[in-house]
Amino acid sequence: MSILSVEHLTKIYGDGDTAVRALDDVSFTVEAGEFIAIVGSSGSGKSTLLHIIGGVDRPTSGSVYVQGQDIYQRSDEQIAVFRRREVGLIYQFYNLIPILDVVENMTLPVLMDGRQVNQDHLEQLIRALGLSGREHYMPSQLSGGQQQRVAVGRALMNSPAIVLADEPTGNLDGKNSAEVMHLLRDSNKRLKQTLIVITHDEDIALMADRVIAIEDGRLVSDSHQG
C-alpha cells in the first residue's frame, strides 16, 4: 500500500474573473521510504500542493489518501490530530514558537496530543541534531541553522508517516544547508522516513529518489533517479 496517494487534486483561489487555479488535476502516489523532490518555478503551486498533503489547506476537488485514509473525509478535529501525528512540516521561515524553548518546540506535537514524551527518543534526536546543551535556549538565542534543526527535530519527533519540507534550506548558508539536508537524508535512509521536499536547489533535487515537477498547477514530470 502506498503511504500517500494524491488523486485529481485541484485547488482554485478566488472566484469569477479573479479565480486562480493553483493546482489542476494533480495525481501521484508515494511509497513508504521514498525521498521525493518537488521542483517548479515560483507560483507554480508547489507550496499549495504541500499544504494540501499536510492537511493544512483543503482542496477544491480531489482526494488525498495517507496510509489508505482519505484525510479530507475527516472532521477538523481529526485533521488536526492527523497533522500532529502523521505529518511533520518544515518551512523556510518562521518555524518556531518564539516563547517556547528548544525542547518545548521540538516536543510540541507530542504535548499537543497530551501524551508523554519519550525521553530516550528526545535525547537521541537532540544529539543527532547537534543541539546538546541548548535544550532550554529560546529561538532568539539560536542561529538560523540551529532553528531549522529544531524544526527538523519537531518534524521527526512523532515519527510521522510523511515529512513535508518547503524549501527547508532556502534561508540557510551552505554549511547549514548541508547539515540540515544530511539530517533529513539520514532519517530517510536509516529510519525509512518518507520525505517530500520542495526545493530550488539542484543538489537537493539530485539527492532525491524521485523528482516531481509542477508547472502552472500541473504535474509535468515525474521521474525516478538512479
Binding site: 489547506d57 488536526a80 497533522r83 500532529r84 518562521y94 510540541l108 506535537p109 499537543m112
Partner: protein, 1012 residues
C-alpha cells in the same frame, strides 16, 4: 502542565505591558461594579436603618387591642418581635389665652412595657430631665414649656400646679373621647383634634372618665427634626408615663415585627388577621419602613437605586469590554503567524481557543478578586469621607452631630458572587470573538508574508462600491486627491502618511476613540453636576456670627421701656455666661411707615433688581416731590455695637451717641442673591430726615397696607379691609397719621454692625442705637394713648393690626384688649463660637429655663447659623466624591484602552516604519507622522465626548424642565479643560511609548525580524 496553558502563561509574560493594561481594565471594572452595588446596598440599608431609628422596626400596629387580642397576636407564629404600649385616655383643655378658640387634648400612654424587644419602637430623646419610673410620673413635649392651660371646660378634668416645667404637677381625669355624627357614635383617637363647630363650641365629649390623678413632670422630650415624631400626637399633645399597672388602660397598641414574611401579601395577611372578628382592633402598616423593605405594593424605593446602579454598571462594563476585547484582538493580530504555525503543526481549533481563554482566565483570577477587594476598600473610604453629607441628606440639618449613626457599608455574598459572575461573563464575551478568530486562523493566511489581511480591504471596497454610484465615487476620488495634495503641501509626507493610515478601516481605533469619548463625556457631566450644586448653595458670609438666638420679651405691668431694654441687656450677659459663646451684639428690627425728606431717597434703587429678577413686583415705590413715602425699616443695635460702628465710620461719637437726640445711619448695603448674582439696593442718595409714623389711625376691620399717590398727587394711606373683596380705603396722610417722630439721617454707610439681622431688605433702612427706641417710644406713647382711647370709645374693634399702627408702643398684653395687643419686643442676639453646635445647645438650654415663664418670654430659640452651610457643603462633598470617583475610574479605563490601541497599532506597523526609514524618512518626519496620528485620536475623542456631554446636559434640562433652569446648568469650563488634559495625557504617553518602540533598533533588523 498542558502545553497550551504554558503558552498562555508565557504569552502573558512576554507582552507584560499589554497584560498589565488588560489587568488594570479588569481590576478597575470589578472595582467599580463592587463599589456601585455595595453603595446601592449600603444606601438601601441606610434608608432602612434610619427609618428604624426614627420610628422603630415594627411593621404592623394593632390599635384598640384588648388584652385578649394582644395575647392572641403574640401567639401568632409569624410574629418575631413585639412591643406593647398602653393607652390610658385623654384629658381636654382650653388654652391659657381666653376665648382664643383654641382647645387641645392631652393623651396619656406608656413607654413600651419592660422586656420588650429592642428597636421595635424608637427610643425617646429627652431634652431635659429623665424618663418616668412609675405611673405617677410623666414626660411632656418640650413645646409646652412655660405654658398654662385652663381646666377642662365642662368637667374639672385638668389642673396645673404651675406652668408646664420639670417638677410641676399636672392633674388629669382621663376618659375616652367620643362624638355623635349623623346619628353615629364614634370614638375619636389622637388623629382627631378637638372637634368644634362653627361657633367655636366643642362638639365632642369625654366619657368613662377615671378619677382625677396627679402626675409629676420629670422630663421633657423635644421634637427636633424627625426626632420623637413617633411618640408625639398628631393633633394634640402626648404625655408618657411608666406602666406599673397603676392605671387601668383603655386599650393597648401592639406593635409587631414579622422577620419571616417576605412579600407584601404576607404582611397584609398579618395585618388583616382580625378582620373576621367584629372587634375593635384596627391595624396600621408601618409604610415608611415597609417601602424601604420592599414590602409594599408600590415599587420599593431601593428599586430606584438599583436602576441607577445597573445603568452605571452598564457604562462601566461597556468600557471594560471594549478594553479587554481590544487587548485580545490586538494580541491575536500580533500572533497570527504563531497561531497559524501551531495550527499547521496540529493544534486543533479547540486547543487554540483554550489557549486564548486560559489567558483570559489568568487575568480574571488575578484581576477580579483584586478589583473586588479594592472596590470594598474604596467604597468604605468614600462613605467615610462623605458620611457627613449622607447623614445630612437623610436626617436633615443638624443631623451631623445629633445622630450617632455612622454609615456602615453593606457587603453581601450574593452581590459579590453576582459581580464575579458578571465579570467572568464579560471577560468571556470580550475574548470570545478574538478566540474564535484565533482558532480560525488559517495556517495558510498566517504563513503568507503580507499580514494585512486583504480580505478586509477588499470587503470595504466592496461595501463602498455598493453604496456609492459611480459619479459619487468620482467626486469622492477627486476630493480625496485634493486633500492629499493639501496634506502634502502643508505637512509633507509625514502628514500624508498619517492621513492614509488613519483612513484605513480601523475598528479597534474607533472603539478606542469611543471609549475616550465616553470618559470625556463623563468627566464633563460630573463637572456640570458639581458646578450646578455649588451654585445652588447660597453661601452668604456670616460676618463672624455663628449663632443667633431669638427672644421675645413681653413688657410687664408697670414696666417702662427703659426697664425692658435693661433686661434685654442682662439676658445677653446671662446667655454668654451660660455658654462658651462670645456676644457679638444684639438687635431689634422694627418696620414702620414713614417718609424721607426730599432728595434723600434714590428713586432708581430698585430698578435693576426689578428688571433682572422676579423677586419683587414691578410696582415703583411711592416718591412724591422727591420724597419717599412707605415702609422704613429701623435696625436698633445694642449701644456698644453702635458706638463701635460709629467709630469705624469715623463719625463723631458725641453727635451720634446722644440717647435723647438720636441720629441715624442710612444703610446702602442691602442686597439680595438671585441666580448666583448679588443685587445691591442703594436706597439713599443723600442724607436727610426720616419721619417715622409712630401712630396711625385705625379703621375698623382693616390694616394699613401701603402709601400711594392720590389723584391730586398727595400721599394717602391705603387700608385693606378684611372682607372678601379686599376693599381698599384711602385716607390722606395728614388724616391717617396721628403721631410722628423725626430722626435725622446723619450719614450713609454701606456696612451695618455685625449683629444687625436681616440686611437683605428692599425698602430703605436706617440704623439706630437701641437706646433710641426708648426715646422714640416715650415720645410716641402719649399720642398713642389718646388715639387709642378715642378708638375704643368709637367702638373700633381691635382686629386691626395694632402693632402696625403703633410700632413703637409697647403695652402689657393683659391690658384687656386681647391677643392683638401682645406685641413683645423681638430681640436677636448674635454670638460667635468656636464650636457652634455645642454652644447652640447650651444657649437653648438657658433659653428654655427662661421660657418656663411664658408671660415674660413668650418665645425663644437658638439657631446655629453655620449649620445649613456646613450641611450643604457636606452634601456637595459627598456628591463630589462619588461622581468624581466614578468619572475618574471610568477615565482610567478609557486611558488604558486608548493607550493599548494606539501603542499596539504602532508596534504592529514596525515593519512598515522600517521600510519607510530604509527609503529615507528621517526621525523628525517620523515623529511628525506619529504625533499627527495621535492628534487625530485626541481631536476625535474630545469632540465626540463633548458632543455626547452637551447632548446629555441638554436632554437633562429638557426633562427636568423649570426645576433646574433656575441655576443654569452651565458648561463647566474647568472640567472641560480637565477632560482635554486627560485626552492629551493619554495621547502623550501612547505617543512616547509608540515612538520608543517603533523607532528602536536597526532598520534592517526590523525588516528581517518578520522573516525569521
Amino acid at each position: 502542565m498542558n502545553i497550551f496553558y504554558r503558552l498562555a502563561a508565557r504569552t502573558l509574560k512576554v507582552n507584560y505591558v499589554r497584560t498589565l493594561v488588560s489587568l488594570c481594565g479588569i481590576v478597575l471594572s470589578s472595582l467599580l461594579l463592587t463599589a456601585i452595588f455595595t453603595s446601592v446596598e449600603t444606601l438601601s440599608n441606610l434608608l432602612i436603618t434610619s427609618t428604624i431609628a426614627a420610628s422603630g422596626s415594627w411593621q404592623v400596629a394593632y390599635t384598640d387591642a384588648s388584652q385578649n387580642d394582644v395575647q392572641d397576636t403574640l401567639a401568632d407564629t409569624r410574629v418575631t418581635a413585639s412591643a406593647q404600649v398602653e393607652r390610658y385616655g385623654y384629658a381636654l383643655a382650653d388654652s391659657a389665652e381666653e376665648d382664643d378658640g383654641y382647645f387641645t387634648y392631652f393623651s396619656l400612654s406608656s413607654l413600651s412595657k419592660k422586656n420588650q424587644d429592642d428597636q421595635v419602637l424608637p427610643s425617646i430623646a429627652l431634652a431635659e430631665g429623665r424618663l418616668p419610673q412609675n405611673s405617677h410620673e410623666i414626660i411632656i413635649p418640650e413645646s409646652l414649656r412655660g405654658y398654662t392651660y385652663d381646666e377642662g371646660f365642662d368637667t374639672d378634668g385638668f389642673e396645673q400646679s404651675n406652668s408646664f416645667m420639670v417638677g410641676a404637677t399636672v392633674g388629669m381625669a382621663l376618659g375616652k373621647r367620643q362624638m355623635t355624627s349623623d346619628g353615629q357614635l364614634i370614638y375619636l383617637d389622637e388623629n382627631y383634634s378637638v372637634q368644634i363647630d362653627e361657633q367655636g363650641n366643642v362638639t365632642e365629649e369625654l366619657v368613662d372618665i377615671a378619677p382625677m390623678r396627679t402626675f409629676t413632670i420629670v422630663g421633657m422630650y423635644s421634637m427636633e427634626g424627625t426626632q420623637n415624631e413617633f411618640w408625639n400626637s398628631p393633633a394634640g399633645y402626648s404625655f408618657i408615663t411608666y406602666d406599673d399597672g397603676g392605671i387601668e388602660p383603655i386599650y393597648s397598641t401592639l406593635y409587631v415585627r414579622a422577620d419571616g414574611l417576605k412579600t407584601y401579601q404576607e404582611i397584609e395577611g398579618l395585618a388583616h388577621r382580625f378582620d373576621a372578628d367584629n372587634g375593635t382592633v384596627s391595624a396600621t402598616l408601618h409604610n415608611s419602613l415597609l417601602t424601604y423593605q420592599g414590602l409594599t405594593e408600590d415599587t420599593p424605593a431601593s428599586a430606584a437605586f438599583w436602576a441607577i446602579g445597573c445603568l452605571l454598571s452598564g457604562i462601566v462594563l461597556a468600557a471594560s469590554v471594549t478594553l479587554v476585547y481590544n487587548s485580545f484582538a490586538i494580541s491575536i493580530a500580533e500572533r497570527t503567524r504563531q497561531l497559524g504555525l501551531l495550527s499547521s503543526i496540529g493544534a486543533s481549533k479547540k486547543q487554540l481557543r483554550v489557549a486564548i481563554f486560559t489567558e483570559a482566565a489568568v487575568l480574571g483570577l488575578v484581576g477580579i478578586p483584586a478589583g473586588i477587594l479594592l472596590g470594598i476598600a474604596s467604597t468604605r473610604a468614600a462613605f467615610a469621607l462623605s458620611q457627613d453629607g449622607l447623614l445630612a441628606l437623610l436626617y436633615g440639618n443638624g443631623a451631623i452631630e445629633t445622630t450617632n449613626a455612622s454609615v456602615n457599608i453593606v457587603v453581601t455574598a450574593p452581590i459579590l458572587l453576582g459581580i464575579v459572575a458578571v465579570e467572568a461573563v464579560t471577560l468571556l464575551a470580550s475574548t470570545a470573538v478574538p478566540a474564535i478568530r484565533a482558532s480560525k486562523a488559517s495556517a495558510i493566511d498566517a504563513l503568507r508574508q503580507p499580514r494585512d489581511s486583504r480580505s478586509t480591504q477588499a470587503g470595504l471596497r466592496k461595501r463602498t462600491a455598493r453604496i456609492l454610484p459611480i459619479w459619487a465615487k468620482g467626486i469622492r476620488q477627486a476630493v480625496a486627491q485634493r486633500i492629499d495634495r493639501a496634506y502634502l503641501a502643508l505637512g509633507g509626507v509625514a502628514h500624508l502618511l498619517a492621513r492614509r493610515n488613519l483612513n484605513r478601516p480601523n475598528p479597534k481605533g474607533r472603539i478606542a476613540v469611543l471609549s475616550l469619548a465616553i470618559s470625556v463625556a463623563l468627566l464633563v457631566l460630573s463637572g456640570a453636576l458639581i458646578q450646578y450644586l455649588e451654585q445652588v448653595v447660597d453661601i452668604v458670609g456670616t460676618q463672624g456670627v455663628d449663632i443667633t438666638a431669638y427672644l421675645d420679651r413681653e413688657i410687664q405691668q408697670d414696666e417702662t421701656v427703659a426697664d425692658l431694654l435693661a433686661d434685654v441687656h442682662t439676658v445677653g450677659d446671662k446667655l454668654v455666661n451660660a455658654s462658651d459663646a462670645t456676644l457679638v451684639g444684639y438687635s431689634s428690627f422694627i418696620s414702620s411707615y414713614g417718609s424721607l425728606s426730599s432728595g434723600t431717597y434714590n428713586p432708581q434703587a430698585l430698578d435693576t433688581i426689578q428688571k433682572e429678577t422676579d423677586i419683587l413686583s414691578d410696582d415703583a415705590p411711592t416718591v412724591i416731590d422727591d420724597s419717599y413715602y412707605g415702609i422704613i425699616h429701623i435696625q436698633f443695635v445694642d449701644d456698644e455695637s453702635w458706638r463701635a460702628y460709629i467709630e469705624s465710620l469715623g463719625l463723631d461719637a458725641d453727635q451720634y451717641c446722644d440717647a435723647g437726640n438720636p441720629v441715624a445711619v442710612g444703610f446702602n448695603g442691602a442686597y439680595q442673591q438671585w441666580d448666583g448674582k448679588r443685587y445691591v439696593v442703594k436706597s439713599f442718595s443723600n442724607t436727610g430726615t426720616a419721619t417715622l409714623y409712630t401712630c396711625i389711625q385705625a379703621i375698623d376691620q382693616s390694616s394699613p397696607n401701603a402709601i400711594k399717590a392720590a389723584k391730586d398727587g398727595q400721599p394717602e394711606m391705603e387700608y385693606y379691609l378684611y372682607d372678601e373683596d379686599a376693599t381698599v380705603i384711602r385716607r390722606p396722610i395728614e388724616d391717617a397719621v396721628q403721631g410722628t417722630y423725626k430722626v435725622p439721617i446723619g450719614t450713609i454707610a454701606d456696612t451695618a454692625p455685625a449683629c444687625a439681622e436681616d440686611t437683605g431688605v428692599y425698602s430703605p433702612m436706617i440704623i439706630l442705637p437701641i437706646s433710641a427706641l426708648a426715646t422714640i417710644s416715650n415720645a410716641a406713647t402719649p399720642t398713642v394713648d389718646s388715639v387709642r382711647a378715642q378708638e375704643q370709645a368709637a367702638g373700633i374693634s381691635l382686629e386691626s393690626r395694632w402693632s402696625e399702627n403703633n410700632p413703637f408702643s409697647f403695652y402689657p398684653s393683659g391690658e384687656g384688649n386681647g391677643a392683638y395687643h401682645m406685641f413683645p419686643l423681638s430681640i436677636t442676639y448674635s454670638f460667635a463660637s468656636a464650636n457652634p453646635r455645642q454652644t447652640t445647645e447650651q444657649l437653648s438650654r438657658e433659653l428654655n429655663t427662661m421660657l418656663n415663664n411664658r408671660a415674660v418670654y413668650p418665645y425663644g430659640s437658638a439657631n446655629d447659623a453655620t449649620e445649613s452651610t456646613r450641611t450643604q457643603r457636606a452634601i456637595i462633598l459627598s456628591v463630589k466624591i462619588f461622581t468624581g470617583c466614578f468619572a475618574g475610574i471610568t477615565t482610567l479605563i478609557a486611558v488604558a484602552n486608548v493607550f493599548n490601541t494606539i501603542s499596539t497599532s504602532f508596534v504592529l506597523r514596525r515593519r512598515d516604519f522600517a521600510v519607510l526609514r530604509s527609503i529615507g524618512m528621517d526621525n523628525k518626519m517620523f515623529r511628525k507622522m506619529i504625533v499627527r496620528e495621535c492628534a487625530s485620536y485626541a481631536v476625535r475623542g474630545l469632540a465626540l465626548g463633548l458632543i455626547l456631554a452637551f447632548a446629555a446636559i441638554g436632554g437633562l434640562l429638557f426633562i427636568a424642565g423649570g426645576v433646574l433652569v433656575d441655576a443654569a446648568f452651565a458648561l463647566p469650563p474647568a472640567w472641560i479643560a480637565l477632560a482635554a488634559l486627560e485626552v492629551l495625557f493619554v495621547l502623550a504617553i501612547s505617543t512616547v511609548y509608540a515612538l520608543r518602540k517603533s523607532s528602536a533598533g536597526n532598520v534592517v533588523e526590523s525588516l528581517r525580524e518578520d522573516l525569521a
